[in-house]
C-alpha cells in the first residue's frame, strides 16, 4: 500500500488529465462549429473578391459576350423582396408569439396555432413558391415582386412566432407582476414591459428568419421570377441575389461564373451587415430605456 500523500498525488494527476481531455474536446467541438463558416467565407473571398468592383454594385448584368456588368438590380431586388417579407413576417410573427405566450396560454386555439407554425416551418420552400404562385401569381396574371415578398414573408412567420413565444416565456413572472401591481393594464404590460424585456431574443429570432429567407431561391422561381433590368415595382417581376447567382452559376460562361461567386460573397456580407446593424440599433434603443 502506498503512503497517503502519494495516492493523493496519483489521483490529482488523473484529475488533471481528465480536465485537459475535456477542455481539448470542447475546443475541438468549437473548431468544428466555426470551421465550416470560416471555410465558406474564405473560399468565397478567394473566388469572388477579384470580381468585386464598383461596377458590380452599380451596373446591371451585361449581355452574354460583353465583359463587366454587375448585380445592382439583384441587390436592389433582394432589398425590396426582404423589405416586403419583413413587413409581413415580423409583425404577424411577433403577434402570433405574443398570443401564444401571453393571451392564449393553454387554450386549444394556442395549441393549434403552435402546431400550425411548426408544420409551416417544415414546408419545403419550393412548395411555398408553388402555393403563392397559385394564390397570387395565377390570380394577378403575372409574376411580381409582391408575390415573392409574400412567399418569403410567410416563411419568416413560424421562426419569428416560436422564438417570440420562447423569449416571452423566459421573462420572469415577477416583472409582469410588478407592472400589473402598478395598475398597468394587461395589454400595456405585455407590450411595454414583457415584450420590451424579451426584445433582444425576439430581435435575434427576427434576424434568424431574415437571414434564412435572404438566401432562398426556390420560392422566388415561381413568384418574383427574376428580371434582367433594374426594377423596384412591386407589380413587376424583380431580380434577387440568389436567383441571379443561380442563373449565372449554371451558365456556360466563365465571366458569369465569376460574377456568381462575387454575388454569393456579397449576399453573405450583406446578411452579416444587416444583422449586425439591427442588433446595434436595438441594443442602443434598449439602453435608453422605455421612453
Amino acid at each position: 500500500m502506498k503512503p497517503a500523500t502519494q495516492r493523493n498525488r496519483t489521483r490529482s494527476t488523473v484529475r488533471m488529465l481528465v480536465d485537459h481531455l475535456a477542455t481539448a474536446l470542447a475546443v475541438l467541438a468549437t473548431i468544428l462549429v466555426v470551421a465550416p463558416l470560416v471555410a465558406i467565407f474564405v473560399y468565397l473571398l478567394f473566388k469572388g473578391a477579384s470580381s468585386l468592383n464598383l461596377a458590380f454594385f452599380f451596373e446591371i448584368p451585361k449581355p452574354v459576350g460583353e465583359s463587366g456588368g454587375g448585380m445592382a438590380n439583384a441587390i436592389v431586388g433582394s432589398g425590396v423582396l426582404l423589405g416586403v417579407a419583413s413587413l409581413i413576417g415580423v409583425p404577424i410573427g411577433i403577434g402570433g408569439g405574443i398570443f401564444l405566450a401571453e393571451f392564449g396560454r393553454g387554450t386549444r386555439l394556442a395549441n393549434a396555432v403552435r402546431f400550425t407554425a411548426d408544420v409551416l416551418n417544415g414546408v419545403p420552400s419550393i412548395v411555398m413558391g408553388i402555393a403563392i404562385y397559385s394564390l397570387i401569381v395565377f390570380n394577378q396574371g403575372h409574376f411580381s415582386a409582391l408575390a415573392g415578398g409574400v412567399a418569403l414573408g410567410i416563411m419568416m412567420i413560424p421562426t419569428v412566432t416560436r422564438t417570440t413565444e420562447e423569449m416571452l416565456l423566459m421573462v420572469p413572472h415577477a416583472i409582469r407582476e410588478a407592472a400589473l401591481g402598478l395598475g398597468v393594464p394587461n395589454w400595456r404590460s405585455v407590450l411595454s414591459i414583457t415584450l420590451k424585456t424579451a426584445s433582444p431574443g425576439v430581435i435575434t429570432g427576427c434576424m434568424l428568419a431574415f437571414a434564412r429567407v435572404a438566401g432562398e431561391t426556390a420560392p422566388l422561381l415561381f413568384t418574383a421570377l427574376g428580371n434582367q433590368f433594374m426594377s423596384v415595382n412591386l407589380n413587376r417581376p424583380i431580380q434577387a441575389l440568389p436567383l441571379q447567382i443561380y442563373l449565372f452559376a449554371i451558365s456556360p460562361y466563365d465571366d458569369q461564373h465569376r460574377l456568381a461567386w462575387a454575388g454569393a460573397l456579397v449576399l453573405i456580407a450583406l446578411i452579416v451587415i444587416a444583422v449586425s446593424l439591427v442588433r446595434y440599433v436595438a441594443s442602443r434603443g434598449i439602453l435608453k430605456g422605455a421612453s
Binding site: A178, L180, G181, L182, G183, V184, P185, I193, G289
Partner: protein
Amino acid sequence: MGVGIEVTNLNAWYGANHTLQDINLPIPANHATALIGPSGCGKSTFVRCLNRMHETNPIAKVTGSVRIGDIDIYEDSSPVEIRRRVGMVFQRPNPFPTMSIYDNVCSGLKLNGYNNRKATDEIVERSLRNAALWDEVKDDLKKKSGASLSGGQQQRMCIARALAVDPEVLLMDEPASALDPVSTSKIEDLIFQLKTQYTIVIVTHNMQQAARVAEKTGFFLNGRMVEFDSTHKIFTNPSDKRTEDYITGRFG
C-alpha cells in the same frame, strides 16, 4: 393620505385549494399592520386580495368584500383602478431590467399615460427621497440601469416606484426577506416614516420585524385569521393558545 380597509367574510381559492377562510379584519388608516404566520398560512394570498392581484392567476377565485376607503374594490372598481390606489412591494426586488433608475420610478406614471416631463422629474425626486434612496442614486438616475443597484437599493427603488403613482395603501409582501440586515433596517426605518402618509400592510416572517414596525398585528394559521390585536398585546399577552405557541417558537 391613507385610508382604512375593512375586510368582511373574505374567502379565496387556488383551484380546489381553499386558501383563505372567512377573514374579517379592520385595517386602520395611516398605521402599519403586520401579518404573521407560518409559510403557506395564506398571508400572502390575503394581501394579494387587497389589490386584486390574486385574480391574475387563472385558477384563483375570491368571494366576500373588501372596502378600501368608501369603495368596495370587488363591486365598484376595476382591478387596474384599484392597483393604482393600492401599491404593492414584492418579496424580491423586481425592477424592470431594461429601464434606468429614473424610468423605473416613473414607469407606473408613464405606462398609465401620464406625460408631463417637469412634474415627472419632481415626482421621481420626491418618491426617491421618500424611499430614502435619493442621495445614493441622484447622480446617475438616467445613466444606470435599475437592475445594476444592490438588492437593498433595488427594493427601495421598487418602493419609490410604488409611491410614485401616489397610492393610498401600500402592501408589502415580505419586503425584506431577500435582503441583508443593513438593508432590512433601512426598509424598516422607511416603513416607520411612510406610515404617517400611507396605510401600510406588511407581511413578514420575522416576528421582531412585526414588533418593531407595526401598531397592529394579525396572526394567520391554515388560511384563517386566528387573532388580530395591537402588536403589543399579540407579543406579550395573546388571547389564543395557538398565537402564543407560534410567537414563542413552538412551531412554524
